[in-house]
Point group: C2
Chain length 332, copies 2
């Protein structure tokens, strides 16, 4: 029996991963036991899934999780970019100090096992790890991390913790630098990148959406479906192939906001596009426009990570996977 | 009156900085008050200097230091590379968690001052922030940090903390990525790079020295005199010129161990060289040979940082500044 822990399992990507595991399993693994850990869980959509309510950062909870010796840990709990920028203390506490406490609990259990238990840990990192100036042709895994946000700094730091704990053999870690996950279903979150999803999702359920960025803003995207795929692929990847460089830029689709809007128009017409309100917000664009606009991901692709080819495909993934649920939620 | 705090002021570079401040002052600053903070101080050589005995990592000590609102803080306290590799907990505790507690104390005082007090903080970082593969022509400030030691990971993390606290305006920080400081006077320390100094210093006082590395090992060096100069220069540098990238590779002399030994031979003859015992140690070379062999430091040099031109000059600095004291210490 292979045990999988999803920290932040109540969140959108955590639940996508759990569903994929429930319905499709994991490559090469016969029997799975999946447990979701989070502070809160949605009321629906988790039928038949083990749930553990924890305060992330509670040392006792970290020890209890480690004591279960899961084979794979997906770590998705985070204070996202907008909230980490507003609440400096909370962002550092959760994204760095609580993550540190988790790693130390894993190390203690590794040592208690006599070194026989060494979990695969897959950390959700972010393109926010990078800052400008960027090369016009995009940036690859060897580009320097110079974040321009607290969230980005915290993610880079967590990556280095994963790197050193892995080098020492306490865990076997991988950090996935995710592009923005678009189209995010359900409610908007506090990420500064939230608008990239809102301008598609909200018009498709007949609601207005605010666009705080110029239409020529170029950005990188992957669908929630692709993001879940990244984590599942990382769960069983041979980490010897990483040659000690355990942070990977994930494949992504690079496009402008205008191209996103063109896709929306092609699918739902000009009346949908008319629901987008242009309200430039320098506080948002000041950070979002400092995120990478193109990822070069030959390394991740050689390692087998896959993403959509165009934003059309990302929109299609949303239509297939999530639009109906979002629309039913929108009914009065 | 400009107040300067030197954390790790009892150590070799801290004392060099203090002496320079005592005897030469600081560019453009009329009156100085210097305080050294450390766990222990040497019994000699600190005449007329303010000393505060603190346990670095004690939150009360960090608060007390911050409450004095020093204008400049030199931060040199660290668990060095060899010890941090042996004692995982201690290295992370001091180099990351205690440094975090200091930054939080500085931020609290900054906020208590209504934002008027924003200290210049100069962090001693290290070439160990980098890991291979390196470009043959050397690496500049835009090279990715992929450390291959716990010490290196801890320093990169501290750099990112300095970066984010500075971006937020709580402090005005600079991280100096130091090459190996050679010739280090006095006793050997627990740094894995300690041998680069020992093979010069020990023969010059008639003692044997162990060389655990191959003679063709190429490495980067600066004298203690140059290192003190880096910190003094960083104390008053206009940080607007850093354009948000606050970690700087310091100028250094790149040479092989064989070239170091040639300089020793030219100065002290073959009988001095004969005191070097070649005892290859894979545990040392496995880490030291993963440190950069050449720094490209055009950026730091444009900003006014200066180092010796050749290893001959580094040896000459030792002879002028420290050799007599080391030799008298060597008397039975």
């Amino acid at each position: 029996m292979t045990a999988i822990a999803i920290i932040g399992g109540g969140g959108m990507i955590g639940r996508k991963i759990a569903h994929r595991l429930q319905h499709g399993g994991l490559a090469g693994v016969a029997a799975l036991e999946v447990t979701l850990y989070d502070r809160v869980f949605p009321g629906v959509g988790l039928t038949g899934m083990n749930r553990q309510r924890i305060e992330f950062g509670d040392p006792a909870a970290a020890r209890a999780l480690a004591a279960g010796r899961p084979d794979v840990i997906f770590h998705l709990a985070a204070i996202v970019s907008g909230e980490a920028e507003r609440d400096f203390d909370l962002g550092w506490q959760v994204n760095v100090l609580s993550f540190w406490a988790l790693l130390m609990a894993l190390r203690a259990e590794h040592l208690a096992s006599g070194g026989t238990w060494r979990p695969r840990l897959v950390l959700a990192s972010s393109a926010a790890a990078f800052g400008p100036p960027f090369a016009a042709e995009g940036i690859d895994d060897s580009f320097i991390c110079e974040p321009r946000s607290s969230y980005g700094a915290q993610k880079v730091i967590a990556e280095h913790m994963v790197g050193d704990f892995s080098r020492k053999g306490f865990i076997d870690g991988i950090s996935l630098r995710l592009p923005t996950i678009t189209v995010r279903p359900g409610q908007a979150n506090a990420a500064l990148s939230s608008c990239f999803s809102a301008i598609i999702r909200e018009p498709l359920r007949g609601r207005r959406a605010v666009l705080p960025l110029p239409e020529d803003t170029r950005h990188i995207h992957a669908s929630p479906r692709a993001a879940a795929g990244f984590f599942l692929h990382a769960a069983t990847l041979d980490t010897a192939r990483l040659d000690g460089r355990r942070a990977l830029n994930m494949p992504s689709v690079s496009c402008t906001v205008a191209e996103q809007i063109d896709c929306l128009r092609a699918f739902a017409g000009s009346e949908a596009v008319a629901l987008i309100d242009h309200r430039p917000d320098p506080a948002v664009s000041g950070i979002v426009c400092n995120w990478p606009q193109r990822f070069r991901t030959a390394r991740a692709q050689e390692l087998g990570f896959r993403v959509e080819a165009r934003f059309d495909d990302i929109l299609a993934a949303y239509v297939e996977d999530d639009m109906a649920a979002d629309r039913s939620e929108a009914l009065p």
